[in-house]
């Protein structure tokens, strides 16, 4: 059986108690998510040692809404104190979440967001994240040139926010012409294949805007075509950083803002704080990026931006020697998190 934490479930408060926390992760099939879960587990271990957390339950749904709902319901039924959710859908989980809340369980959606005024989403600020890269690119191109947008997966909330940021930035520059917007599915190989076609079709690509997971695919496509990649935003994986460090001197420039898997660990910090009864500052809570009519989201700014200037330092300190699909990672320290609370 699974331990129940009924004793503390109703209030969610009372420091000194030990909490059972469920993590309902919508998908485990890619490296970013496994790193995210590993981060959560790592932070949870420290709390377990301190006796703050008595048990962490991690469940993965196979990108299947009903499976995730079932897991949330199972967590409710086994009496956890809090449920952290990386949601498969921004909307479909709402009834399950309400059930959990009715049972006095704290619900914290993280990474993705949920459209429900009564939860507090903890997520990386995708808009400013995407905006940063887009502005860097436009700036480097001096507002002129042909670019390619390599986006993730249509219909996914994070993608829609990022697309909005891209559009907001590039539409400010009449000299920037978007040759083509393609979807690489956040998959390196798909990005590589799409890019290969694009390179052959467009001889005049001046810059590429891409998001995480796909930068290395683009670089591979250029390498295979015996060409140097143009100005491009990068991705957060070790593979890309390795290429970047090796080609920095031969004129390859990029910009990477971390979209850290550590957001899960950060969310766990928030969850523990909230379970202990702390209240968020009202300034910490902002509009839901998916549905701006709701104010329920803590937008965590990306903790780290990498450009040519700090590349070596970041590489040496955190990336070197890690597996190539490892993502540039960071999460907020307890004291940083404290700053969000009253």
């Amino acid at each position: 059986g699974t331990p129940t934490g009924k004793g503390t479930a109703s209030s969610g408060g009372g420091s000194g108690k030990s909490f059972v926390i469920g993590v309902a992760n919508g998908y485990i099939g890619n490296d970013w998510r496994t790193q995210m879960i590993a981060d959560v587990q790592q932070v949870a271990k420290t709390y377990e040692k301190q006796g703050v957390i008595s048990k962490l339950i991690v469940e993965n749904a196979n990108n299947d809404v009903t499976q995730q709902i079932s897991q949330i319901q199972n967590m409710i039924n086994s009496g956890v104190n809090a449920i952290m959710i990386d949601p498969v859908s921004a909307t479909a989980l709402v009834p399950a979440i309400q059930k959990a809340q009715k049972a006095g369980i704290l619900v914290i959606p993280f990474d993705g967001v949920v459209n429900n005024p009564k939860v507090t989403n903890i997520t990386t600020d995708q808009y400013s994240w995407a905006k940063g890269g887009a502005e860097w690119l436009a700036d480097q191109l001096h507002g002129k040139g042909n670019i390619i947008l390599m986006d993730g997966l249509a219909g996914v909330p994070a993608e829609n926010i990022r697309a909005q940021a891209e559009q907001d930035v590039f539409s400010k520059y009449p000299g920037i012409h978007v040759l083509q917007k393609v979807f690489g599915g956040w998959a390196e190989a798909t990005a590589e294949q799409k890019m290969t076609s694009l390179i052959a079709t467009y001889p005049n690509i001046d810059g590429i805007y891409t998001q995480d997971g796909m930068g290395m695919g683009i670089v591979q496509a250029y390498t295979a075509a015996h060409k140097t990649p143009p100005l491009m935003t990068g991705d957060v994986t070790v593979g890309f950083f390795k290429y970047w460090t090796e080609h920095e001197n031969s004129g390859f420039h990029s910009y990477v803002e971390s979209n850290p898997p550590g957001i899960g660990a950060t969310a766990l910090e928030f969850t523990v704080n909230m379970l202990q009864g702390k209240k968020l500052k009202s300034s910490s809570i902002q509009a839901n990026p998916v549905d701006t009519s709701e104010t329920n989201t803590v937008l965590v700014k990306s903790p780290l931006t990498v450009t040519d200037s700090n590349l070596q330092q970041v590489w040496n300190s955190t990336m070197k020697g890690k597996p190539s699909s490892y993502s540039l990672d960071a999460w907020l320290t307890p004291s940083q998190v404290d700053a969000y609370f009253q």
Partner: protein, 328 residues
Amino acid sequence: MRTRFSSNQTATRIFRSPAMIGWVLFLLGLVANAIVQPTLFKLSVINSNLGLAAPLVMVAIGQTAAVLAGGIDLSVGAIVTLTNVLVVSLCSFHHTGFWLAAILGVAAGIAVGVVNGFIISIVRIPALLVTFAMMSIINGVALAILPQPGGQIPADIYQIYGNTVAGLPFPLLLIIVGVLLWVVFRYRKIGRYLIAVGGAAGSSRANGIPVTKVRFQSYVLSAMFASLAGLFLTAEVSSGDPLIGASYALNSLAAVVLGGTALAGGRGSVSGSVGGALFLILVQNIVYFANVPSYYQTLVSGLIVVMGLATTGVLYARSGKWRLTNGR
């Protein structure tokens, strides 16, 4: 002279009935689940499990119709999605009343079935291919209708869905209604002809059965149940999502096979599929309550399902002389 035929055949026949396999699996799953989750039989737990099971059960019933008639319907997941996004966007963005939206959503789903049925039975293109292509098309349409998750249905609808009526979980009533709806078809000529056509299309034709029409109807039936599933799922999640139905195509097929229905057609039962669908839902619970570590969950649930399939297959192979006719 045929002594072997007359002796206690009924008993063996019931035991040999393919539906048995689905229910045996379901019972095994139930026992395993009850062991790891002592609270399983609390009304609220039953209720929430059934709420999730109802859509899959419905899709599986429809899929059984397509499979029995010798076909397959890969577009059921897309139909679930289509109904979901249509109902929600009509309710939320076009101020249509829920019931009207529901009718339109189901009608749209059935329309997909009509197109499937037309292409498969009249243009005569293999069902697997048609419904695969249709899946791609309908998912595209759903994405166009509702580019990102959102919308709401009236709160009372999903409250009803999660509630009990006369002491019975509402989703259970819906499942019963679904099964009854199937019974209406099964014990008329159409039900019989589905099995005949799936078992031997040429023979059916020679006996004056309108094969084309029966095939056509099987896809309309399949789509009808899928869109009802879409409706139930909408009631469960109360909002729209253009990717919501993706898992139903293959899960419903797994349920059908676990329920002892032959994918080649002509043999099987809806009750088995219901058992198969419930088994699949139980597997998720078992994996949860058995405290399987995160990285092992996919492996363990995969192994349970594969073992269930193998059991089904072995039991099936042993039931009667099918062995010789199955191409072994």
